[in-house]
């Protein structure tokens, strides 16, 4: 029990060190204390900390400084101390912004409502996570291999893997080949927390961190909603309604807590950085402040170092926002361009541009910035799953109620002439870009899985839906207004119906996810880990291991026990992969488990040097038990290990 408390304490200290301190001090040195409310400081510090730690670790890697507990601690401490020192030196030069304290000064009832919504959000997500916190999701296992590699080697990883290739009729393991699927920002913070706290990668900690990021992305949506509508009298109500629409309702569905337990790291962090980037762009142009633009660029760069899809979505959302703003301000564009010029050509912004340029070209180039990776994402849709969603599919991605009401929100923005404001242009551009990318990707010449894009739409649609609800609510309140075109009774009924729609749709979605899961998969995962641990103790450098992905639980985590390469052990993938008509796949991993005693199977064993096989005996045990070449050396309920002795 003492160990549990000790590890918990170290874990929380590491979270503060990695995910709050550097960002807080960075914020302090750039803006001083007066530009943000406390809640904004908390949320922004979190996002900026991730970016700061990423860049610090990248710099350490470039300078060949070994990434260890001591060096990480020293880097974060020095960075924070330098920021604080500069802040103290410039302390008197910072101006104070009163709007922040007014905007976030909630009434007692509003505070209670916000606390209640946060409680419900965390409670529902925790209820879901309690059965899925155990580390067994495939994606998370893949990602944690790279994070563990950083922790073990003290160096930035080279993203590469080996494959089985056929040379002159025989099979062999290829030399390592570069892979563009992984991006460094997805792995660094996990390594930093592991190094500082000593907590195991094979534990609750990766999902817990993603859960935290998910909560902060919800708070980021809350603060940006308040900033979007800060000139509106009912801004706080819009904020609370946004929190309701992005918090407790659809709390489990993708891209929220399901992505956290599923280890979809890039999406989860992307959903934090996208609203944060827009937050800073909005304030930069609205307040004509170059420091906000500098930080906006820094957050955009952080996004670029974390997730390619999120970055692409952000670029499109930005371009759509710009186009909308341009169209609705076409007569004033010359005057606006002069304002922009002053902000852009400022020392702060130019410095950040130079810093980003240096990082991309001299420190670390994101792995996806190569012709092959770009080619796979751009072009006509190559598969059905990339040809766009139907409206029905899209509503499941966005949340039915949010989508329906959000569409009305865009019409309302147009009706209330808000699209010529920065706020209106950004929220409309953000939403419309996601609509276009999800529903009609061929218009934008994109070749990316459409459902993955659709998941991003829940965030802007929540803000738009909150705006619609507020408009109905404010019309109801304002009984004497001459502007009411519909009767109060009708509006009241309509408002009640919409709330009912949101409640039933959002909570039905939650209940479906909660009832569908169970903890029974955890025992299967434990057996996998036990078998992997046994094998890790008994293999040497000349051994090659093959495992099955179809019937073994948590198999992607097996590589964390060996740490002999991303492609180690070899894996029999899903059967449909071997029937891919577009890309020709190697067949050895299939043959070695499904038909080990055939000539092709034996040739594969011999060529790849595979001598240990991990599989589920219920499905694949028979073919090995028939053979005289294999020893059954480990026998469990869900997993057996065979050794090829002859």
């Amino acid at each position: 029990m003492l160990n549990f408390f000790q590890s918990q304490l170290l874990f929380y200290i590491s979270i503060i060190l990695v995910l709050f301190l550097p960002g807080y001090f960075l914020l302090l040195v750039v803006f001083g204390k007066g530009k943000f409310s406390n809640l904004e400081k908390l949320v922004i510090s979190f996002g900026l900390s991730i970016i700061s730690v990423d860049f610090l670790m990248l710099l350490m890697g470039k300078l060949s400084i070994s990434i260890t507990r001591l060096s990480i601690f020293a880097a974060i401490s020095i960075f924070s101390a330098v920021c604080f020192g500069i802040y103290k030196f410039r302390e008197n030069k910072f101006s104070k912004d009163e709007s922040a304290s007014k905007l976030f000064d909630f009434s007692k009832n509003q505070s209670i409502l916000i606390i209640l919504l946060l409680f419900l959000t965390i409670f529902i997500k925790t209820s879901y996570l309690k059965d899925s916190i155990f580390p067994n999701s495939t994606d998370l296992g893949h990602h944690m291999y790279w994070s563990k590699l950083i922790s073990e080697t003290g160096q930035l990883p080279i993203y590469e893997e080996t494959n089985i290739i056929q040379v002159d009729g025989s099979y062999q393991i290829s030399p390592p080949q570069k892979i563009a699927d992984f991006i460094i920002g997805e792995h660094l913070i996990f390594s930093a927390i592991n190094l500082l706290s000593g907590i195991s990668f094979i534990s609750y900690f990766p999902s817990a961190i993603l859960f935290l990021v998910d909560i902060f992305s919800i708070l980021a949506i809350f603060i940006i909603a308040l900033r979007f509508f800060e000139d509106n009298k009912g801004v706080k109500l819009i904020g609370v309604l946004t929190l309701f629409l992005i918090g407790p309702v659809y709390a489990i569905s993708s891209p929220q807590i399901k992505f956290a337990s599923g280890g979809v790291i890039g999406n989860i962090i992307g959903n934090l950085f996208i609203p944060l980037a827009f937050y800073f762009y909005l304030r930069a142009f609205k307040e004509k402040n170059s420091f906000f633009l500098a930080v906006a660029l820094l957050v955009s760069a952080g996004l670029g170092y974390t997730h390619h899809l999120s970055m692409l979505i952000f670029i499109f959302a930005f371009l759509f926002s710009f186009a909308i703003f341009f169209v609705f301000n076409i007569r004033r564009m010359q005057e606006i361009a002069t304002e922009w010029k002053k902000i852009i050509f400022s020392p702060a912004v130019i410095s950040i541009f130079i810093l980003i340029f240096i990082f991309i070209f001299f420190v670390y180039t994101p792995t996806y910035l190569n012709a092959k990776a770009i080619d796979t994402a751009v072009g006509a849709p190559s598969k059905d799953t990339r040809a766009g969603l139907t409206f029905t599919q899209f509503k499941f991605s966005a949340g039915e109620a949010r989508m329906a009401i959000g569409i009305i929100g865009i019409i309302l923005l147009l009706f209330y002439r808000r699209l010529k404001n920065y706020s209106g242009a950004i929220i409309a551009g953000w939403t419309l870009a996601l609509f276009a990318m999800s529903l009609w990707p061929n218009w934008l010449f994109m070749d990316i899985i459409s459902s993955r894009i659709g998941n991003y739409s829940s965030f802007p649609l929540a803000i738009l839906s909150a705006f619609v609800l507020f408009k109905i609510f404010s019309t109801l309140q304002n009984e004497t207004s001459q502007k009411n075109y519909l009767s109060q009774k009708f509006l009241l009924s309509f408002f009640a119906l919409i709330l009912l729609f949101i409640f039933t749709s959002g909570f039905y979605d939650n209940s479906q996810s909660l009832s569908a899961q169970g903890a029974e998969g955890n025992l299967r995962s434990i057996e996998t880990f036990h078998a992997a641990e046994f094998l890790a103790k008994n293999i040497n450098n000349s051994d090659a291991v093959l495992k099955d992905h179809n019937y073994i639980a948590a198999d992607s985590w097996i590589k964390l026990f060996f740490m002999k390469g991303y492609g180690y052990p070899l894996s029999r993938g899903y059967f449909r992969r071997y029937d891919d008509a577009v890309t020709k796949r190697e067949m050895c991993t299939l043959w070695m488990i499904s038909t080990p005693n055939t000539t092709a199977g034996e040739k594969c064993f011999s060529g790849t040097g595979t001598d240990f096989v991990m599989l589920n005996p219920e499905y694949d045990g028979a073919q090995f038990q028939k053979s005289k070449k294999f020893w059954q050396i480990y026998s469990g309920k869900e997993i057996n290990i065979y050794y090829k002795a002859n």
């Binding site: 549990f4 809640l39 505070s111 965390i122 817990a208 434990i526 036990h530 020893w631 290990i641 002795a645």
Partner: protein, 118 residues
Amino acid sequence: MKEKKIILILVLFLLASFSYLAFVETRQADLNYQKNWWVVYFENPRNESLNFTIENHSDQNKFHWEVLQDKTKLSEGEAQISKGEKNTIPVDLKDVIGKKITISISDSKEKKEIYKQF
């Protein structure tokens, strides 16, 4: 001030949630807690040694083991292993070349086998 209270309460919610999840996961990761499984494996999987280990994480404590050459029983025994413990059983056989030696272990509910073929 109310904003600070919101932050404080949020931090408390998160702390409670994280601690609960950590506690739940620690129990889920416990090989024995509310679990019922056991495994058997060779002490040395790649040489001729037939010593094997039964690792028990089930509620059963008694195991019966047999050493078989094809279907002929060469030796047998009982092993008493508490939950969370393991027991290595030495098997000393000579002249095994060309033979398949199977170790069969059973508790009252299930049976598992491991074997080597020389």
